[in-house]
Symmetry: C2
Subunit: 322 residues, 2 copies
């Protein structure tokens, strides 16, 4: 965790307690699960999702411990989905470390993912807030259905921008939305605030995914830890690719990749075209609009250091998050 | 569903509503998930676990709909674990139908399993009973840790009977225990009854698994739908195998299989020895003791048609459950 990032300041203590909870999940388990979980938890992410829960509840003056419990739940769910995604994608490395599935095989990875789903559910239950618990279950549904839809829409270059947006809300936005919303619910905020905060999380999460999809084309392989254009290579059509199809209907390299024609050369062509055409400007515009919508949603919340921190977090998340 | 089985009689209406809930999970989903779930739900199992929840709540005079909701949750969780187990085991067929993973690949199977975990969690949440919800999360943890332990203890012929018992409680007994316990909790039963009913479920579930492990040696390949001795073939040491190791310490074919020596011949030898030695009598004794313990646990419950049905269910489950 980069403790130098200033948006952590108002929630430093609570975030430390989230981190302790995560370590305890491993420490309290029996072998062989213990060692497997230590491997998973040892990779310190930026803890963006729990930070959102904590900052929202800080802004709203929550006085209980529940946001810490919820923060741990949200991160555990995120870790569980990463494990299953890596298993599904056959990924060898995540955040610079070998994945569970590459080290112990997909069987173990599936089951450790399930175990983490369960521990995240137990944490949510400890908030004793039925609405939060229900929202969390709904989110697990969204996350898996988003991934499934992505799988089944592979290589379908005719898909619409709306289908893309719906899909990335499910696979990424839904957990951001829940992280934010639960911070408000656990603070006893009124319905209008709960809704506003959920909107914030949802838009931020979708924007986060759009930026991620930009990086897949614009980043260097070293930065993003995988070959450039690897989404398209595996048939996943992201916004840059879809806009390229829209804007260059003739002899389009994305269409060619999807149809399996001279894949390698066309993949290279697609990456070049995305980088050097007006397409990327359009994608950035979408990300900006989402970011603005996210920030505008926070208007009903009182100004405070915590609110400023949440705005900083939003900027940080959207700048570069790999 | 074999509607002729008499233990269904006192809960026929409720069980029909559980069945409707399961169908709705598919019907209410969007494509492509809808078709995938239809495939999963179309396989009508015996619905033993929801029947336990319904019968317990019937015995205890529950007047709400919550046991129906819980029954659906319990079956959905069971289906989710079957999907992940089949994926982990690379199984091609389940209950006479091709498995999801064999039809659509392990990626889809992992994600559909996750989706079903989530739908089961949503059903549990709809009971609005925090203790039931917490117990359910704990059960998901037990189920996955039981499977993980089985995986990591493969071929370890030195493992003890206690380790085996602990493992099968987790992988099978825990869900039976939760199915029974939640029936009592949702009926507002007192703590003594809740505990007794949980004991019943736990012992019945463990006995169920012991019988399953007997069948792996004693059944015909046609009956059990897989080659005889396939647990041992994949390194899983069940009670018959462990007792064989205990009773024949010298030149033991189970030890030989685990150590990879002339596997095929020794696997055949192991199956023969288990079938034709006193080992099986010992295993049946264990199953009987568990069954008696299960039934004795029901003593505090009032006599009724529903209680008689629950006893019948127990006999049925332990007789032959493939």
């Amino acid at each position: 965790m980069e403790s130098t990032l200033s948006f952590y300041t108002p929630i430093a203590d609570d975030l430390r307690r989230v981190e302790e909870s995560l370590s305890l999940v491993a420490a309290d388990s029996e072998e062989p699960i213990k060692s497997l979980l230590e491997h998973v938890v040892a990779v310190k992410g930026k803890r963006v999702r729990p930070s959102i829960t904590l900052l929202v509840s800080e802004i709203l003056g929550c006085t209980t411990d529940k946001p810490v419990t919820m923060g741990a739940a949200v991160e555990l769910l995120h870790l569980a989905t990463l494990i299953h995604d890596d298993t599904v994608d056959n990924a060898a490395v995540r955040r610079g470390r070998a994945t569970l599935s590459s080290l112990w095989g997909p069987e173990v990875a599936v089951l450790v993912g399930d175990y983490l789903f369960a521990t995240s559910a137990i944490h949510v239950c400890n908030t004793e807030d039925i609405r939060v618990i229900k929202g969390f279950s709904r989110t697990i549904m969204d996350l898996s259905s988003g991934q499934l839809t992505e799988h089944f829409m592979a290589n379908q270059w005719q898909q619409t921008r709306e289908q893309y947006m719906d899909r990335i809300f499910k696979k990424t936005g839904s957990l951001f939305a829940t992280a934010a919303e639960s911070g408000a619910l656990l603070s006893g905020a009124d319905e209008r605030v709960v809704k506003a905060v959920r909107e914030f999380g949802s838009n931020l999460g979708i924007a986060f995914q759009v930026v991620d999809d930009i990086l897949d084309f614009e980043g260097s392989a070293a930065e993003i830890g995988k070959p450039v254009g690897s989404d398209l290579a595996s048939g996943v059509l992201t916004l840059p690719a879809l806009l390229l199809v829209e804007q260059y209907p003739d002899d389009n390299p994305v269409v060619a990749v999807c149809e399996g024609a001279d894949r390698e050369r066309n993949l290279e062509r697609a990456v070049d075209m995305v980088r050097n055409s007006g397409v990327m400007a359009g994608v950035y515009e979408v990300a900006d609009t989402l970011r603005e919508r996210a920030i505008a949603s926070l208007a009903p919340l009182p100004n405070s250091d915590a609110k400023r921190a949440l705005l900083e977090l939003s900027d940080f998340v959207l700048e570069r998050h790999v």
